[in-house]
């Protein structure tokens, strides 16, 4: 039951990440530059990184524990960076729109 649930969650996360990558790449052509455009490139790189990272999750049980801890730590780190970039972007957009 535990295995099935984690597998379902992993595949859901991968699907959602692919959808996110699709959205990021689709919007790219509409945001060639400017304040959002610059940040969008970075966000797209992070989303691509997460997509590949998430693809490895079904094989986590085959990884040595040290490597597994490192991968999870890296996901947390880049996740935190992603959140900071997104929040700063929203902050800047709101500031610009309310000027």
């Amino acid at each position: 039951m535990g295995f099935n649930l984690s597998t379902i969650l992993n595949f859901s996360a991968i699907l959602i990440m692919f959808y996110c990558l699709y959205l990021a790449l689709s919007l790219k052509s509409s945001i060639p530059g400017g304040m959002v455009g610059k940040q969008w490139n970075f966000l797209t790189i992070l989303v691509t990184l997460f997509t590949f990272g998430f693809l490895t999750t079904p094989f986590f049980d085959q990884l040595p524990e040290d490597i597994l801890r490192l991968v999870v730590s890296l996901i947390f780190l880049f996740g935190a960076i992603y959140v900071v970039v997104t929040v700063r972007l929203i902050f800047n957009i709101i500031r610009e729109l309310t000027e």
Binding site: S30, I31, P32, G33, G34, M35, V36, G37, I93, E96, L97, E99
Partner: protein
């Protein structure tokens, strides 16, 4: 007269439309007032039931040089929302194309959607500046606003 033709009032047409003189008949005047530089002849003919024989009346207004389909003929004042306002929009759209190239589409749409008065166009310019700054190029945003204001006389 082609059904897809977009007509606008000339400076002379604007003057008559906004005056209360009786230089033209009431039917011609009603037709002159519905010409807005946005609606095609076909749309005017289908919607404007209060003008009898609309297409013929438009042809008459055209012959009197009160309306036109060639924007370069406009020499009116910039405070009017008809032909002269349309000319300003064209100038602003050209400025957007010059500065932003292929990325000018959304900016031009904002300008087209605005009314033709200088105040409305200035509001549109400010909105365009934000759009350019956020999604196209930070530096060009202020240049666009500055040059746009010069064009509309602000």
């Amino acid at each position: 007269m082609r059904p897809d033709l977009i007509l606008f009032r000339t400076a002379k047409g604007e003057e008559i439309a906004h005056s209360h003189s009786h230089q033209i008949s009431a039917n011609l005047r009603r037709a002159l007032l519905v010409v807005d530089g946005k609606t095609s002849v076909a749309n005017i003919a289908s919607k404007v039931f209060w003008v009898s024989d609309v297409v013929a009346v438009l042809q008459e207004l055209y012959a009197l040089e009160l309306i036109h389909d060639d924007i370069s003929t406009i020499q009116g004042e910039v405070s009017q929302t008809g032909g002269a306002g349309l000319l300003l929009k064209v100038k602003l759209a050209n400025l957007a194309k010059e500065l932003l190239g292929n990325n000018a589409g959304r900016v031009i749409k904002k300008i087209e959607d605005a009314d033709g008065t200088p105040d409305a166009l200035e509001d549109a310019l400010l909105a365009c500046r934000k759009l350019i700054k956020l999604t196209i190029n930070d530096e060009l945003a202020d240049i666009f606003l500055r040059r746009g204001r010069v064009l509309i006389g602000k």
